[in-house]
Symmetry: C2
Subunit: 403 residues, 2 copies
């Protein structure tokens, strides 16, 4: 009997997880040996992580055990760290073993983009994993707990800097400002003592977003006490705060870095040509010159032909890629030559701002307030439905539309 | 009209709070101007603090607003820090004002006893106030949250050292070991990775306690993973752990210091003769040579005539002192010369060990397990009853006798 082709999927983020789930539903395991590799035994919804980071949602609500969605009788699951990829030998090196592949799917996600600003990795937090956001939540609480134990009150315990007023930064500010009143009560601290800064190098918060909605979001966060510093690049992150390009220093024990991401460096180290760590993939999601390697999610670069600029790496586009990729892998397994092309279809974008507040565009319609907030929950639940149907929506979904 | 005598009570711990409450019930404010000074606007039950320190009880359960128990129309309450006492001028200096007194009650509590061991104040935590235990709880959680974010796993994040296996140390170990399984689950950590040490210089845990009960308590805590190092003095507390006299180092980010207390240094600074910061008071609780100064609680030293050794400073004895003191102050206000003597009556001692476990002696009877645990709750509730009657027991009491 001929050996089945081996498909190895690296990473169980949005892209890897939906690919595996689609292949499983199509019973692709009958024609291939499919292996999913991930560093944790759980998958998490990256786009929800600003909530557990601020402590407004428990992190367990943002993750699920991989084997609760993936049938490991059909798809092998290996919990391990990917350390390198050898394209010539068609092998993947994991921390504890080696895997050979016939077809490789790279969905290894991203790391924070520092733009070369020193001190980010040493002194700033980032919203990137269950581990990292659990640490942010605890760090914030620890700062509040410390304050009243100091003989000389150090205000920088109560000063919070969010670097970057993009999507994640604004969403985190929304949750953080929603949580601060409860933290003040828990630790006997006056609300006035707490300072929250949003620092953005670009001339506006949420660059590229509708002006009216940006104004709504900024005003809302200002009303909750956020001080925006727009057109203000950061020069350095230090142990005791940030130094701005304009020479100003903000003393803070808590700098959260949300200025975007770059592709996982393993991709570049494997020899692929990258831009900000991302590979400009073919329409069928293959890496240029590599018929056996597909790249999706934050590691893939897709150009928006209307604007001639890359699409921002989002969950929405990763899921669309995974759908096309799953079809293309099945086509290959069936011996077909013709592969499908990705046609990105951005249905809309909604940024939550804490509580019942959000801003967004769906189709050509602008949304804000409770309407946008409800739409955000629909989007979050829709993803759970894609992965695990109605039961997963009931188990992990956001069903509190009116609270 | 003749001026009423001014009674100033410094500190709203067990002693000061019960004194004020007794005077209020006796309507002593008709004959005196009574002022209670405390650094917080709340009173807390020090003997419960090991629970919020470990995170097994919320700190709000261990405190009450002073004006919820004291009628401030009858007794003035000043929230301020006491900085010094001038016995000659009969004045008390507060951070923000000065007070004159005719009769002074000193109930200013204690500070940790370090026995001159270096590093305690710099690197160890202590179970002494709502602020300090809230910090311990958050610090512990922060250590757990940090662990999985480290590339090189540092085991000292998960190593907890409790210095002193006296009453507070054992009670804290009881709560901590009860909480650790939940912390392991919350932060995805194997229970086996967590180490808890109890380090005691004396040749036994709980010196002076019944041998059989000590054995019960030690075995119980060992079964929950505590490693006891008895007859093991600590030489130094360092930023990264403790150095023992025997040369051994234990690396830990969390050292909790529970080796007993000494009286508030303000008392010694005021010129009173002290032993470990405590003043050996007369039988009527006056400071020797000072008819107008009464000292109670952790600042007072009372000799047990049976053993010729001081009574350990406990809530029980502070409350008994406060009862006698309130009577003596009323006697003075009524112009009586004869004051009452304190006759300590130790009814029993129970140490909680977390969950449904405790050990204790009540009268001549030894108790352990659920029976001792229920008795501990009776003792805790009894204090609330003394202060605020049945309503306070219902509001703040421990009514879960069977859970």
């Amino acid at each position: 009997m001929e050996r089945k082709p081996r498909i190895v999927i690296l990473g169980a983020g949005y892209g890897g997880m939906v690919t595996a789930s689609r292949l499983q539903k199509a019973n692709a395991h009958r024609n291939a040996e499919i292996t999913l590799v991930n560093k944790h035994n759980y998958h998490y919804q990256t786009t929800w992580l600003h909530e557990p980071a601020a402590g407004t949602l428990h992190h367990d609500r943002t993750r699920m055990l991989i084997d609760s969605v993936i049938d490991t009788n059909k798809i092998n699951f290996i919990k391990d760290d990917v350390t390198s990829i050898d394209r010539e030998q068609k092998k993947v090196q994991l921390a504890n073993r080696e895997l050979e592949y016939d077809y490789l799917v790279i969905g290894l996600g991203s790391i924070p983009e520092t733009f070369g600003i020193p001190g980010v990795y040493e002194h700033a937090f980032s919203i990137r994993s269950v581990n990292s956001v659990r640490l942010i939540r605890e760090h914030i609480e620890y700062m509040f707990a410390n304050y009243n134990n100091e003989e000389e009150k150090t205000e920088d315990y109560l000063t919070f800097v969010v670097a970057g007023a993009g999507f994640t930064g604004m969403e985190f500010l929304g949750e953080l400002t929603e949580r601060i009143p409860a933290l003040c009560q828990e630790y006997d601290i006056d609300r006035e003592k707490v300072k929250v800064y949003s620092i953005e190098a670009a001339p506006t918060a949420l660059p590229g977003f509708d002006d009216e909605l940006v104004e709504y979001g900024v005003s809302l966060l200002e009303s909750r006490g956020v001080e925006f510093k727009i057109s203000t690049p950061i020069k350095e992150v230090r142990e005791d705060g940030v130094l701005l390009d304009n020479g100003e220093e903000i003393k803070s024990q808590t700098v959260v870095w949300t200025t975007g991401v770059r592709g996982n460096p393993i991709v570049e180290e494997a020899g692929f040509e990258t831009m900000r760590g991302r590979v400009k993939v073919e329409d069928d999601l293959r890496a240029p010159g590599h018929d056996d390697v597909f790249i999706i999610g934050d590691c893939a670069l897709i150009i928006n032909e209307e604007t001639n600029r890359p699409y921002p790496p989002t969950a929405q586009i990763a899921i669309q890629q995974a759908n096309v990729l799953a079809e293309n892998l099945q086509a290959i397994l069936s011996g077909k030559d013709e592969l499908k092309s990705l046609e990105p279809d951005i249905k809309g974008t909604v940024a939550s701002l804490g509580g019942k507040e959000a801003i967004g565009v769906v189709g050509s319609k602008k949304l804000f307030g409770t309407q946008a907030s409800a739409m955000k929950k629909v989007i979050d639940n829709r993803y759970l439905y894609i992965l695990g149907g109605v039961p997963l929506v009931f188990k992990k979904g956001k069903l509190n539309f009116f609270s």
